[in-house]
Symmetry: C2
Subunit: 149 residues, 2 copies
């Protein structure tokens, strides 16, 4: 397989995982910066036309993986692929951010849930979403219902 | 950084990239299977409750990367991070699929745009989408407008 390399790093106000909102109803409104390395700068051409981006990044401070775990949103264990746990077989994170502005190699974004210094692996344009009414949210919807949310 | 490892492989009808619908208005309705390796099976616990999944995978038949390229949807070049080109600094693909059913280690899904045998790196639940009216689609919207779509 390929050898991952950072294309840049996240600049965020979060320095410890405890600071990042988690669990049911967690809102990710924090602003931050995607600071892209100069050698990949040409890859940003025309990105400013998109309102939302997928950011694929490395959970670089996560160790090992756990196939079953109890997420902050529930008191019951679920499979890692049915959660957003950082302890994954491949420690890859995925965040949808809103692109607020671009200044050269810096993308100012809203919706950051990564720690400061997180290595970025890829950025892709967000082109369409699944309508809310077509979504089933499994154990998370059940956990919300149990908590009366 | 971490060393990627497959958690499973895509079973798809596509054996050549030419067969995969591309460009403006491409619909991905193809069904396929996410065939998960037995040692990661426990990670699928409760996944069947979700209607849609993010699949993160490797462009394993793509070589090298190109920071600027002309996608099939346009006749003008754009930065790789503003496109879904396979020739990325980290050859990581991202697809949203609809989960049709699960049979043990096999996830039957709709919306496959990967080649048969593609290594899967991660699966995550799709929890919410950005509403269509909040999306700006940059050069893609412009290219569509130019082509009268």
């Amino acid at each position: 397989m390929f050898t991952p390399k950072p294309i840049g790093f996240v600049r965020s106000h979060y320095t410890r995982t405890e600071e990042i909102p988690k669990g049911l109803g967690a809102k990710h409104e924090a602003e931050g910066v995607l600071d892209i390395l100069p050698e990949f700068g040409d890859g940003l051409t025309d990105i400013e036309g998109f309102s939302h981006l997928f950011v694929i990044w490395e959970f670089d401070r996560s160790e090992g993986f756990k196939l079953l775990g109890t997420p902050p949103s529930d008191d019951r264990p679920h499979g890692v692929f049915a959660t957003r746990s950082p302890r994954r077989p491949n420690p890859i994170g995925l965040t949808v951010v809103e692109l607020l502005s671009r200044g050269g190699l810096l993308l100012h974004v809203r919706g950051v849930d990564m720690l400061d210094g997180t290595p970025i692996l890829d950025i892709k344009p967000y082109l369409s979403g699944v309508p809310q009414e077509a979504l089933k949210r499994g154990w998370l919807a059940e956990a919300e219902a149990r908590k009366g949310k």
